[in-house]
């Protein structure tokens, strides 16, 4: 490939680009972000109180990792996210599939679900504190309230979009009506289900931090809030970076799970 066709491949809409270029660009964007960060802090453009130097954040992270503080709070956050996410998903997936398949279920639940799903989760935090207190149950509730109704709606949409002739073909092959959801709708929507779970997992992290900022005694959101009070901006940056890394990790896990569970959809 000469330079000209190479340049053309990079600038053609939708054109695939070489794998090496993908990797290079993926690294380059982080180098660029770090470079800007270094330039702003070491160049003295921003006060250290607002933006810490990258190496200071790294040192803080290493120190807190060494004494176990970082892991303790990370574990606390991960635990809450997983409990909330799993509880929400194990109900939302079958309910969404049923809602998308049976018009009678949809007619019953749609008005309620669509009402609740537009209510801002944050406005319910005080109510949850009043009802449930500030224990782990409160944070789990915020996550469930934040993602459950969205999951139901998105999975119902996926179930509704299953081609009708796929279901008809199943009937002519001897599938019973009551088996349709399990034998046809569920496998047909499995790739979409994994996509919905992956996206809502990201939202679960957001709602976790919201809950931890308001009422918690552990977790990455909690140490950020504590750090703000002590002007430890490097700790806040460390917490944010940690959440980002965990998000990236769970995203990759869901991509792998989808590939393993739905190999036909790649």
């Amino acid at each position: 490939m000469n330079d000209r066709t190479f340049f053309k491949s990079l600038t053609t809409p939708y054109q695939a680009i070489p794998h090496g270029v993908v990797v290079f660009l993926g690294i380059a964007v982080w180098v660029a972000v770090l470079a800007v960060w270094f330039a702003l802090t070491f160049g003295g453009f921003v006060k250290p109180m607002f933006l810490p130097k990258p190496n200071e954040v790294l040192n803080t992270a290493l120190a807190l990792a060494a004494d176990g503080t970082l892991w303790e709070h990370t574990y606390a956050s991960v635990q809450v996210v997983i409990i909330g996410f799993v509880l929400s998903s194990i109900v939302a997936v079958p309910l969404g599939l049923t809602m998308g398949t049976y018009r009678v279920v949809q007619a019953f639940l749609d008005p309620l679900v669509n009402f609740i799903r537009y209510l801002p989760v944050t406005s319910f935090v005080p109510l949850f504190i009043l009802w449930i207190g500030i224990g782990i149950e409160q944070r789990v509730s915020v996550i469930i309230f934040g993602i459950f109704f969205q999951q139901v709606v998105m999975i119902a949409d996926a179930a509704r979009s299953v081609p009708r002739d796929l279901v008809n073909a199943a009937y002519t092959l001897g599938t019973r009506r009551r088996d349709t959801v399990w034998h046809i709708v569920f496998p047909a929507t499995l790739p979409n289900i994994f996509d919905v779970l992956r996206v809502t997992m990201g939202w679960a992290w957001t709602y976790l931090v919201v809950a931890e900022l308001v009422a918690a005694r552990s977790g990455l959101g909690y140490i950020s809030l504590k750090a703000m009070r002590g002007f430890q901006v490097d700790v806040i940056f460390m917490a944010i970076a940690m959440i980002g890394i965990l998000g990236l990790l769970t995203d990759q896990i869901f991509r792998v799970l989808r590939r393993v569970a739905a190999p036909w959809a790649n």
């Binding site: 081609p163 002739d165 796929l166 008809n168 073909a169 199943a170 009937y171 002519t172 092959l173 001897g174 599938t175 046809i184 496998p187 047909a188 499995l190 739905a262 190999p263 036909w264 959809a265």
Partner: protein, 264 residues
Amino acid sequence: MLNNPNTATRSSDISVEKVALRYGTGEGAVLALDGLSLNVKKEEFCVIVGPSGCGKSSLLYLIAGLEGRTGGMIKVGGRPVSDAGADRGMVFQAYTLFPWLTVRQNVEYGPRRKGMPAAERNRIVDHYLTEIGLAAFGSHYPSQLSGGMKQRVAIARALANDPEVLLMDEPFGALDSQTRHAMQQLLLSVWEHSKKTVLFVTHDIDEAILLADRVFVMSGRPGQILADLTVPFERPRDMDLVMEPDFIAMKREILGLLKNNGGH
């Protein structure tokens, strides 16, 4: 096959009597089928040909029990049709292979629903995969197949379930003409071996004459049977038949019927 003492109702395997289909009610109601009757005998290959929108696909869905008729009676093997069932296999115009199952698992789907033992299932699947020339593709997913291959698997899947009748709704409509010709030949050879009762819907007159023992010519909406023509050509038939004068004469007759009653 059990001998039915009531031979009068066994005389035709698909019996459609004065069937009506109306969509909607009141002013906006559309009469898709009006008093349509036809009979398909056991082991007969019949083709319905008609203009698009004449309700020929709807008729197939009614026989399959996938839609409810507004009036009349449909019987398959002497039993009135009230719901979809495994006794009426169907191949659709759209690709309806289950994308999450391999070719093998797709063909195996019906027998598995019936609770057939694995050894017997495997024997049936092997037989039909060989029959459609896709024995080497058993572990492929449908997304890895071409359109023609998908429809071959769909035919194998329907036949593996051993239905009493096979309903085919323009199964080759989405294929290019070369693939379509190959598929017609394949279908004929599969049919010669299995001797199923087939009711096949198409708007392609060549296809209709080439495949059928009898051709039903259907009018435009509301759909009615204009003619019930016996195709005189001997089997096995091949593509060269379409250039024979007798074939062309029959094609001209059907075209004439459709031109005068095409509907709007």
